[in-house]
């Protein structure tokens, strides 16, 4: 990414929050910021970056917002067929104080607004990437492999929902904050996952999403340095993303953790992630992201796959299961038990999951793996084939099919 693009993305949330704080109208302010960013992307490369880039963006954005408010109120006047003037506050010229407002960091408030409970997760993600990440609609659409018109509708609908929910631009009340913080972290986690799961595919844009998610969670951590779960999530992303160079072969096939070339892992990211999670575990309240990061750290710090401390991983899954009710956690727990104790014990952990309707093809894939370890070749082959038929992922199907073929 070019330097000025990164600069623009960093400025985007501050510019937007300055405008929303000053004028209200989240939906129109967001549009105005996008246009200011576009103008900067066109002008800065040739004319140079202004001395005060944020001030420049706020000035251009508020000029555009005033225009939008004028045409909006004109439209409304026509619709209502009333001759009265628009409310005076809608015509405020940018006052002398507006650039000072840009000095505050309202990114967190903005994140809370984008992760409003009235929105579906898909809309929360789109809006966060646009308003806080500064990505264009076209970039977000490309990352999610949908037409730009689809993404544009999703974003404008999200903005409308926020408007209808009557949200004001302030932090949610103390009582709701934990819950909303949970939603914010979950959205950042989903953005990361969307990028990470797609990074083996043909969509190059998706790899940018992991970078963007890491950048955003770093921003949240600067604002909340003492929150253990923010640190835990950042650590989890770093420790997972560190394996990216080794997880696909030259032809795009998936390489499972145990078979990856560990020399390709990103050492710096592992060191940073491990330090973050150890620090968080020692001095903050325990939470699921920290535990997941700790599990990732155990994997990442084993020199060879056979050096993996599976007993410690089993213990961490025990803790994680106390914190969250998620069948995927139980599934991973079964794999760890299979590795630490034995395949029969792992299969016993799987038993109660058979009736869980939240389960997908991965249950069958794990069963196949444990059956293979137990030497029950015929049953393992059948399970691999069933898992291959159930998955909707091409690389996974190829992988599972090849496991069945080898038996």
């Amino acid at each position: 990414m070019k330097d000025f693009e990164l600069l623009l993305r960093e400025q985007a949330p501050q510019v937007l929050s300055a405008l929303v704080r000053h004028y209200g109208h989240f939906d129109l302010a967001e549009e105005a910021v996008q246009e200011a960013l576009l103008a900067a992307a066109q002008q800065w490369p040739t004319e140079g970056v202004p001395d005060n880039p944020r001030g420049w963006l706020i000035r251009v954005g508020s000029r555009r917002l005033t225009d939008l408010l004028r045409s909006e109120s004109a439209r409304r006047r026509r619709e209502e067929n009333a001759a009265q003037l628009a409310a005076p506050e809608e015509f405020v010229a940018s006052g002398p104080d507006i650039e000072d407002l840009g000095g505050r960091d309202d990114t967190l408030t903005l994140l809370f607004l984008c992760c409003h409970p009235a929105l579906s997760p898909a809309s929360q993600i789109a809006l966060t990437l646009r308003a806080v990440g500064g990505l264009t609609t076209a970039q977000i659409a490309a990352a999610f492999l949908v037409p730009e018109s689809t993404m544009a509708q999703r974003i404008s609908r999200a903005k409308r929902s926020i408007k209808q929910a009557g949200s004001t631009f302030e932090l949610p009340p103390e009582a709701d904050r934990d819950e909303r913080m949970g939603a914010v972290l979950h959205v950042l986690y989903l953005i990361f996952n969307e990028g990470y799961t797609a990074s083996s595919g043909t969509s190059l844009h998706s790899a940018e999403l992991t970078t963007e998610a890491i950048r955003l969670v770093r921003g949240v951590r600067r604002l909340l340095p003492d929150d253990g779960e923010v640190a835990g999530l950042l650590a989890l992303m770093l420790l997972t993303d560190a394996r990216r160079p080794a997880r696909t072969g030259a032809d795009g096939t998936l390489i499972p953790l145990a078979e990856q070339d560990r020399s390709k892992w990103d050492k710096a990211a592992i060191v940073e992630g491990e330090a973050l999670v150890s620090d968080a575990l020692s001095r903050t309240q325990l939470g699921p992201y920290q535990v997941q990061a700790a599990i990732a750290a155990v994997h990442d710090t084993a020199e060879r796959a056979e050096d993996t401390d599976w007993r410690q991983i089993v213990a961490l899954y025990d803790v994680l299961e106390q914190l969250v009710d998620n069948p995927m956690v139980k599934l991973n727990h079964a794999v760890a038990v299979g590795m630490a104790i034995g395949p029969k014990e792992g299969l016993a952990v799987l038993e109660p999951l058979a009736s869980d309707d939240r389960m997908n093809h991965r249950l069958e894939a794990v069963r196949a793996h444990l059956l293979e370890m137990a030497g029950e070749t015929a049953a393992a082959r059948e399970s691999y084939l069933l898992a291959a038929r159930r998955t909707t992922s091409v690389p996974e199907r190829t992988y599972l099919q090849s496991k069945a073929d080898r038996l």
Binding site: F144, V394, Y399
Partner: protein
């Protein structure tokens, strides 16, 4: 994963189509127009189209590097594919909900199939 794309495949057969009254056909068209509008507003619609009558189908087969073309659809069934919607939903239940609102589901059937994607979780 955040969202999955689903193909809603609309099946029809010539007999049941011929048996519809003019009002029923108008109702069908309107229902699809409304559904398309709603899916577009929700930001869920990736693509949608009706397919021309199976009489216009050509089926191509290549055997020993030689392509042969025959008139008519591949499967010799009474039912044929009449159209599709490609939607992006949070889960299959949401996709089934939209399929159930198509009048075609009443007349013949609408099939819901997840689309394969080129990404995969680490295993």
């Amino acid at each position: 994963m955040v969202t999955v794309k689903y193909m809603l495949l609309i099946y029809s057969n010539a007999e049941s189509w011929a048996g519809l009254s003019a009002e029923q056909r108008d109702g069908l068209t309107r229902a699809h127009e409304n559904l398309t509008r709603e899916l577009t507003e929700q930001g869920l619609l990736v693509s949608a189209a009706g397919l021309a009558d199976p009489i216009t189908t050509r089926t191509v087969q290549v055997r020993d590097d030689t392509a042969t073309t025959t008139d008519g659809p591949y499967a010799e069934a009474k039912e044929h594919l009449a159209g599709f919607y490609l939607v992006e939903c949070d889960d299959i239940d949401q996709a089934i909900g939209y399929a159930a609102r198509m009048p075609d589901a009443e007349y013949v059937a609408v099939e819901v199939r997840p689309v394969m994607d080129t990404s995969g979780l680490e295993m």
